[in-house]
C-alpha cells in the first residue's frame, strides 16, 4: 500500500493508504480529524472543503496520494493555540451564520479562500456565487453572506472598497 506524507494543521503525518483512499477519508479515519464532514459523497455539498497548500479543495474529490507532500489545513487548524478564533469563525458566530453546524466547516474554509483570493473586495453577488459549491440546509445563506462580508475587512486589514450589503 502506498505511503503518504503530509502536514495537517502543522503536524507531520506519514500514513499508509489504499490507492483509492480519498483525502477526506485519510483526515477523518486515519488522522481522526472529524471536523471535516462528508455530506453527499458526490462532490456537490462542500461540507468536506479543506485547504491544500492554501487553496480550498473538496477533500472527497482528491485522492489521499495526491496530497503527498502537501500542507493541509482543516477547520480544526484555524483557531490559535490559545483558542482565539480566526476572524471568519468569529464573524460566523457573531452573525448567526450556522444552525446545525454540519456545513459550517466547509463554508468557513471556502469563505476564507474566497476572501483571500479577492483583495480588491467582494460584492454580495460575488460572495453568493463563490459559495455555489457549498450547500446549507438550515440557516439559509443570508447570514453566511453577511458573515463573509464582515470578515473581509478583518482579514484584509482595510475597509471593503466595494459595498457588499
Amino acid at each position: 500500500m502506498p505511503q503518504v506524507s503530509l502536514t495537517v494543521n502543522g503536524t507531520q503525518h506519514t500514513v499508509e493508504v489504499e490507492n483509492r483512499t480519498l483525502l477526506v477519508e485519510l483526515l477523518r479515519e486515519k488522522i481522526g480529524l472529524t471536523g471535516t464532514h462528508v455530506g453527499c459523497d458526490t462532490s456537490q455539498c462542500g461540507a468536506c472543503v479543506v485547504h491544500v497548500d492554501g487553496t480550498s479543495v473538496k477533500s472527497c474529490t482528491m485522492l489521499a496520494v495526491q496530497a503527498d507532500g502537501a500542507k493541509v489545513t482543516t477547520i480544526e487548524g484555524l483557531a490559535a493555540a490559545d483558542g482565539t478564533l480566526h476572524p471568519m469563525q468569529e464573524m460566523f458566530r457573531e452573525h448567526h451564520a450556522l444552525q446545525c453546524g454540519f456545513c459550517t466547516p466547509g463554508m468557513v474554509m471556502s469563505a476564507i479562500d474566497l476572501v483571500q483570493s479577492h483583495p480588491e473586495g467582494l460584492t454580495e453577488h460575488q460572495i453568493r456565487e463563490g459559495l455555489e459549491g457549498n450547500l446549507c440546509r438550515c440557516t439559509g445563506y443570508h447570514n453566511i453572506v453577511k458573515a463573509i462580508a464582515a470578515a473581509w475587512p478583518l482579514m484584509q486589514g482595510k475597509t471593503m472598497p466595494v459595498a457588499a450589503e
Partner: protein, 129 residues
C-alpha cells in the same frame, strides 16, 4: 443589536464547538470493534427480484453478515411505518402500502435497498456489496 435583556442578540453556546470542528455527529463516532454497513441498491427502476445469491459476498474478506429482504421477513423485522396516519373523508384509515426495509419480491426504483453487507471496514463492506 445594542439591546439589553429583551430583544438582545444572544450568542449560541453550541456555535464554538461547531466552528472549531468539534461537533460530534453520528458519522464521527468511531468505537473499537465498530462494524460498517453498506447497502446494495437496485440498478433497475422496476423489476422482480429472483433468488439473491449472497455466498460470494459472505465469503468476501472482512464480511461479518449479509442480509436480504427475505432475512428481514424471516426475522420479523417490519417495514417502515408511515409517520402520519390520516383518515379518508368517510372515516376509513388511509391505504398504507408496505415499505419493507429491504426489498421483497420486487424493486420499485433505482436505489431501492436490496441487501445490506456488514463488514469490519467500510471498504470491505462496499467491495462485497
Amino acid at each position: 443589536m445594542g439591546h439589553d435583556g429583551i430583544g438582545a442578540s444572544v450568542r449560541r453556546k453550541e456555535d464554538l464547538r461547531f466552528l472549531n470542528g468539534r461537533g460530534h455527529y453520528t458519522d464521527d463516532v468511531n468505537r473499537p470493534g465498530q462494524l460498517y454497513a453498506y447497502i446494495r441498491r437496485s440498478d433497475r427502476p422496476h423489476a422482480r427480484l429472483g433468488a439473491i445469491d449472497t455466498s460470494a459476498a459472505k465469503a468476501s474478506p472482512g464480511v461479518v453478515a449479509v442480509f436480504t429482504g427475505a432475512d428481514m421477513q424471516a426475522d420479523g423485522v417490519g417495514g417502515l411505518p408511515c409517520g402520519w396516519q390520516i383518515h379518508n373523508k368517510d372515516g376509513s384509515p388511509m391505504a398504507e402500502p408496505p415499505h419493507p426495509v429491504l426489498a421483497v419480491g420486487k424493486v420499485r426504483h433505482v436505489g431501492d435497498p436490496v441487501a445490506v453487507v456488514i463488514a469490519h471496514t467500510r471498504q470491505q463492506a462496499k467491495d462485497a456489496a
